[in-house]
């Protein structure tokens, strides 16, 4: 086997093309660096996706499959399982790892929920003694959140909430009818609901790199990818400006194997395999930026062993792979009497909720640390696979035609047909998304026995929820029931109890993996410094979710983007000063 040396040397090689990699590509190329970006999957153009496809234009009506676990129209290529790329769990652990293999990575699959971390989120240990504080504060990152807001675009409302800082917002879409109804009920039990903060354009942006991006046309199908580039994904938003500089080379179907280092321990480049031809390559660069997803970057570092880095690159602290976190989650659905016999109208709106509940009990006493936010859905959405499934559990609510109660749900025939019409749009759902605690013993490591089809050692996970997370999810269900009861709604199933850990989702399921290359000032307890730079190899950076010290009750993407922008500016600065 021959390893081809790529003839040209780059200033920077970026591994991965998701939020962090895309942002690094934009900022570094605009800063004048010559950048190669490795992506394990194929090219992806948002304009060729399934937007506007009717359910009936597919014989499976949008059903999920192993390759498309979120439905066949979902843009993501990848999923919980990828042929030839296994991962394993230690006994008793059930971490679920969702991976994308495509240009843009998982930015092609998410809810566009774009929440800034707040001041508390960087200093949680000082507040409750758990986990660690970040080596930076909200004030350090705020200017970069501002830049991301302006460049990418986000809608929201100015609320003045201390730990949910306002951004530079485009106007939010008006709430849907059912969302106002939930809001009224939520407020009556002391739960706020405010306009959501999604990276979807409700107005055109006025900068030159956004001229190809039209405002939203309200088809609600962001998850299928947007042909008008109205929402954020790396291929829609970050690749075009990077390409325009002429400094970006995208190398697709390139699965990174190892970061190579010299005798002094500095990185010299990245070796990778072409996933189609099997040809091995080595690419030289002055700086290596990892953005392969938190766990994939940790895997790459752990697989990059050398005399100078016997425990894996950037891992003299032994923290790489540790302090793995995912967001907690659980869900409830209900049928709402006021929504029965709805008035037909197009309530697609943007792809996702127009209102949400930020964490509202920071100051109240409770039996769990940290908080959660609540996401809502419902309405007259496009009927697809699973449409009104399990109606026998809730159509009893309609009663008999003569007004008498029904003795059972279910049924068939004319009455059932009419039941579907009357109940369409009357079912709502809500999901809690909460902060978990960073624990050293929640980790991914290299599985000693297993390699993938490229011969690269794979990850083995070990993750267990603690009582902190489980009690938090219990509280989510209490909140859900309060809101539903205030609307006179009927839950589609009973709130899960202690025996099922209150219905907490398996770790990994919310697809917010973070924390496995955490940042800190002390090289003994952290992998990278506050500029996402490896303590052990100064020309190695990690700009995905790995450097997160704690989770926050927020989705990680906006913080990944802000930190990647900040780290990339630092790289340009250090290159100019000849420090890299």
């Amino acid at each position: 086997m021959q390893i081809k040396k790529q003839p040209s040397e780059y200033d920077v090689v970026i591994v991965g093309s998701g939020a962090g990699g895309g942002m690094a590509a934009k900022v570094l190329t605009e800063g004048g660096a010559r950048v190669a970006m490795l992506e394990a999957g194929p090219y992806f153009n948002s304009e060729d996706a399934n937007m506007f496809k009717w359910s009936y234009e597919s014989p499976r009506r949008g059903a999920a499959s192993r390759k498309h676990p979120f439905g066949e129209f979902d843009a993501n290529i990848g999923g919980w399982e990828i042929d030839g790329e296994p991962y394993t769990n230690k006994a008793g652990s059930n971490f679920k790892w969702f991976r994308a293999r495509m240009l843009g990575g998982r930015t092609n699959h998410w809810g566009r929920i774009s929440l800034r971390f707040g001041p508390h989120d960087f200093e949680r240990k000082s507040m409750d003694g758990l986990g660690d504080d970040w080596p930076l504060s909200y004030d350090d990152i705020a200017p970069y959140y501002d830049k991301v807001d302006r460049f990418v675009g986000i809608f929201g409302s100015r609320e003045g909430l201390y730990n949910d800082p306002d951004g530079i917002f485009l106007p939010p879409p008006k709430p849907r009818g059912y969302e106002l109804l939930i809001q009224k009920a939520a407020r009556s039990v002391g739960v706020p609901m405010i306009p959501s903060r999604l990276s979807i354009l409700t107005r055109p942006l006025d900068h030159a790199a956004a001229t190809h991006r039209a405002p939203c046309h309200y088809c609600s199908q962001c998850g299928r990818s947007c042909s008008t580039h109205s929402n954020f994904s790396t291929p829609s938003v970050l690749i075009p400006p990077a390409e325009a500089t002429g400094n970006l080379e995208m190398i697709l179907h390139a699965m990174a194997r190892e970061v190579t280092t010299d005798s002094e321990g500095k990185a010299t480049g990245v070796s990778y395999v072409n996933t189609i031809t099997g040809q091995e390559y080595h690419l030289k660069a002055r700086v290596v930026v990892l953005a392969a997803s938190a766990c994939e970057s940790a895997r790459l570092l752990l697989n990059s062993k050398s005399d100078r880095h016997p425990n894996g690159l950037a891992n003299s602290s032994d923290v790489v792979g540790r302090y793995l976190m995912d967001t907690t989650g659980t869900t409830m659905m209900a049928v709402i009497p006021d929504l029965i016999d709805g008035i037909p109208h197009n309530e697609d709106g943007v792809g996702g909720m127009h209102l949400y509940t930020p964490w509202w009990r920071e100051k109240q006493k409770r039996d769990f640390p940290r908080g959660y936010h609540i996401e809502f859905w419902g309405g007259r959405t496009m009927p697809g696979y699973g449409f009104m499934g399990g109606i026998h559990r809730y159509n009893k609510i309609l009663g008999e035609i003569d007004g008498k109660p029904r003795s059972s749900g279910g049924g068939y025939g004319m009455q059932l047909k009419e039941d579907y019409r009357r109940l369409y749009g009357a079912v709502i759902g809500m999901s809690g998304r909460g902060e978990s605690i960073a624990f050293k013993d929640n980790y991914c490591e290299i599985d000693p026995d297993t390699v993938d089809k490229y011969g690269i050692p794979v990850l083995r996970f070990n993750y267990a929820w603690s009582d902190y997370e489980i009690l938090q999810v219990k509280h989510m269900h209490e909140t859900f029931s309060e809101i539903i009861n205030a609307m006179g709604g009927i839950q589609l199933w009973n709130s899960p109890g202690k025996d099922s850990n209150y219905g907490i989702t398996p770790p990994g399921s919310i697809i917010h993996e973070i924390g496995v290359t955490r940042m800190g000032n002390d090289p003994k307890t952290s992998a990278v410094n506050k500029f996402n730079q490896a303590h052990d190899a100064k020309n190695v950076f990690v700009v995905d979710g790995g450097p997160f010290v704690s989770q926050a009750d927020k989705n990680p993407t906006w913080t990944i983007l802000a930190l990647a922008w900040r780290a990339s500016e630092y790289i340009i600065d250090q290159m100019k000063k000849m420090n890299l």
Binding site: C219, R380, P383, S408, G410
Partner: protein
Amino acid sequence: MKKDNKHTENNKRQISRRDSLKYITLGTISVAYLAGCSTPEEIEDKIPKVKKNYPGISEEDIALMKQKFFTDHERETVRQLANLIIPADNRSGNAEDAGVVPFIEFMMLDKPENQTKMRGGLKWMDFESLSRYEKEFIKCSEEEQQQILDDIAYPDTARPEFSQGVSFFNIFRDYVATGFWSSKTGINDLPYEGNMANVWSGAPQEWLDRLSVSYDS
């Protein structure tokens, strides 16, 4: 025994499609955003032009659609059962008209893990009708068929000896619902009025009034 209720009109939801289109063109376009637009052409111009560029049915799926899963007897049982679950009325056709039978057959091939439940459930139906009426389900009169369905279609009150039939029927009802309501027929019947480029500026006033909510609070 439960009888099919004659379809009754519900005044509250008799909003014609034309009325709801009115909401789309007038109700959902933001005044501020459209300041200065007065003609329909100018309003139309504000709705982004959107290419429909999505891929068609894949080669693999076309190949799967050509395969058969059901025997002729099973397929006829599926057809009759589906039409009992969603019959035709004055607003739309029945399950068969909406293509439910080939949909269910495709899903059996697409998700083979559900094949045994389906095949076994159809067999259960036949065995039940044989023991009651000494003939297969599809040979029964509609009244006889309904007598069997009345025992398995109402899970809260079904007798324990019918539990397997109830489980099958709950699953089968869900298949029919997806097949019917996600079809063009079903989408027009409900109706679902989205999946088009538009400018959203809130729900129709009449709907807000019904819910006793407003944009001012």
